[in-house]
Symmetry: C2
Subunit: 397 residues, 2 copies
């Protein structure tokens, strides 16, 4: 009956959303969300920017779908100087950028390649679009398995390869230069369009930046976020792509929300061009570097023999591999941690629904940017206690 | 080939978008866009609200998908006091609200009823979703044709009826109480879910408010906009519906853009609760009433025998019926007006693609809120000149 409206297609309810609700309660140490450190928001710069825009009535009128012109010009100058035939689109967070790409180009049954584990928000979008997902799991060196990638490209007609090359969510892994070049070659050879999602790229606190995939392969759509370098609440991101792609996305965006918040776009331009912005970014990187070191040190101290993790050179996450817990027990274990007032995200939520549980890595995604150093150390101790207890528990089963 | 990305489905390029670009040039009087009068934006109130939010770092963090809690509470208190089992969702403009409803519930081929002519932004969304559109044209009294509505409900399994009951876009027409009651009865009888889009409801400058359709029919989704009463640039709207519907929309919104701009939601709450807000709204209504009177007077003075229009009690648009121009000539006529530096929107863009041109009304949508009274009068004179010229032109063809 029409009165019992049934959604056409479902999105798997987000365990992360569930966890974020729980962590609003007191006394929970959250390593779960991908939240930047609120104490590092550039409030003085934000305040200056709002003081400028609040006087300009024209910024509160309807705007262009593609974005606020001066912001677009700045973004193109900053990021597209050496690109030919590329254009930019401001979107309501880079999340919307990916959603627009999928709505513009993906039909049910289209073949898409993703890394596994992969960003949950991307999985939700691809699964809602009923794409046929091919997962590339890491190889034994915990690098993208280039052999598996080539086989998948060979055996299917792949439309897109979606990846987070810089400090992946959830694994924190950064593609090596070798991997980047090889992926670009394979995409060219098999005519695969690449979507590179780089929200964490500017959060590198160690080592030199590696080339963007768009520098190595023309047919790349780059999704950038301002959530990690300015503030997430303002919901602004940007898509860079070839002009014809941007034109297609603009048409969908017009139907989706007409345009993104105009005064906030103007404020973002003021933030990004503020003379203090670069030192703000340096401060963020320095703090995140320190917190990451605290987390890795705590893991090495307390989790020896129970779990292991690789240090990362940037981003927001550490991937904690659980040595003695089976993949189908990880979510139960994460829930038991919640009872001990520590929130983490279990590995299973980062795999698509068609990925066999027994082939998943057993892991926890640990965010090191949001909690305080003391809380990070405390949380790792609690994880250690719970791992010891759980393992004896599982042994009895 | 994958490198030649072809969009899965197209949205008819918006003539309105094209026109809005042209009107950015100088010396064009635009009656085309649905733009509020920028000079009436409550800038003092907006400034106060931004001064409050700029100090609160927590507003720049990630927020809840459903919306900023204090704003949601205010909206539910203001609009849902007497409703049972209803809930609210803040969205990135009411445009996104409609898009979310369609993504949640409409599959290709689903039967949807719309008024014809109808809001272009809604047509784009329905056609992108490949809905099967049934149009209800006005009857001879320029009222919704209730007989045609009942026949359509009888002969099809209609999922949604989408309507703009208060000051329709483009016609400016407001449903009478009789029409509202009868539509509610028919929706109940044939189990049709209603979507009422009410962005202009608070812009009534004459007569008493009539009941919302949601007061007469439980199964109604109400889309509200803050673009017309606060400012459109901030891209905030709200969906009110039964809890299960809101829950389905939240899931899609999470994938679409995570949540709407959080600091702007907090600013909107400050704006709506500012002691000066009601007198701001009164001022807007008074000005729009005056401008509408100027337009109607100019039409009666200059367009006698060429075109006719009914005065409206609110909203932003007058529907100018062209007496001697055939439907398939209206767009050409609108383009000829552009050459005379007057921008209007021709009737054809407000009909779905499956609506026969010869059955369309020949009309122009005239916006009376954006241009100055002098420009409104000047534009009507130019329309009169061009109508006289064109008609002799068409007679020769």
């Amino acid at each position: 009956m029409p009165f019992d409206l049934t959604p056409t297609n479902t999105i798997k309810p987000s365990y992360i959303r569930e966890i974020l609700m729980v962590t609003k309660q007191r006394h929970i140490i959250s390593l779960a969300g991908g939240l930047p450190d609120q104490q590092l928001f550039p409030m003085a710069i934000i305040e200056q920017s709002l003081d400028i825009i609040k006087k300009k009535a024209s910024l509160f009128q309807y705007g262009n779908t593609q974005g606020y012109r001066p912001l677009l010009e700045f973004l193109k100058q900053s990021y597209l100087k050496s690109y030919q035939d590329y254009d930019a689109l401001v979107c309501t967070g880079s999340q919307q950028g990916l959603d627009l790409v999928v709505r513009a180009y993906i039909k049910p049954g289209d073949d898409i390649v993703i890394e596994a584990p992969s960003y949950l928000g991307a999985l939700q979008i691809f699964e809602f679009a009923q794409a046929n997902l091919h997962s590339i799991a890491s190889n034994n060196d915990n690098e993208l398995d280039l052999h598996a990638l080539e086989t998948t490209f060979q055996q299917n007609r792949i439309k897109f390869f979606y990846a987070v090359p810089d400090f992946n969510n959830p694994t924190g892994r950064c593609w090596s230069l070798h991997t980047r070049k090889k992926v670009a070659d394979l995409c060219k050879q098999y005519q695969v369009y690449l979507i590179e999602d780089v929200p964490y790229r500017d959060l590198r606190f160690k080592g030199d930046a590696l080339p963007l995939m768009s520098e190595l392969h023309n047919q790349t759509i780059t999704l950038r976020s301002f959530s990690k370098i300015a503030a997430p609440g303002i919901r602004l991101g940007c898509v860079f792509a070839q002009k014809n792609v941007i034109e297609a996305l603009i048409t969908i965006k017009q139907a989706a929300d007409l345009h993104s918040n105009l005064p906030m776009q103007a404020a973002l331009l003021e933030i990004l061009t503020n003379p203090m912005f670069n030192s703000h970014l340096d401060e963020v990187r320095t703090h995140y570097k320190y917190k990451q070191e605290v987390m890795i040190k705590a893991i090495n101290t307390h989790l020896n023999g129970l779990a292991q993790a690789q240090a990362v050179n940037g981003g927001m996450f550490i991937w904690l591999m659980l040595l003695n817990i089976k993949p189908h027990h990880v979510e139960t274990f994460a829930r038991s941690l919640l009872n001990k007032a520590v929130a983490v995200v279990p590995s299973n939520v980062f795999y698509p629904q068609n990925f066999p549980t027994e082939q998943q890595q057993s892991g926890l995604r640990l965010n090191f940017t949001h909690a305080s150093p003391n809380d990070i150390e405390q949380a790792i101790k609690i994880i250690a206690d719970e791992l010891s207890t759980s393992q004896s528990g599982f042994k009895h089963k």
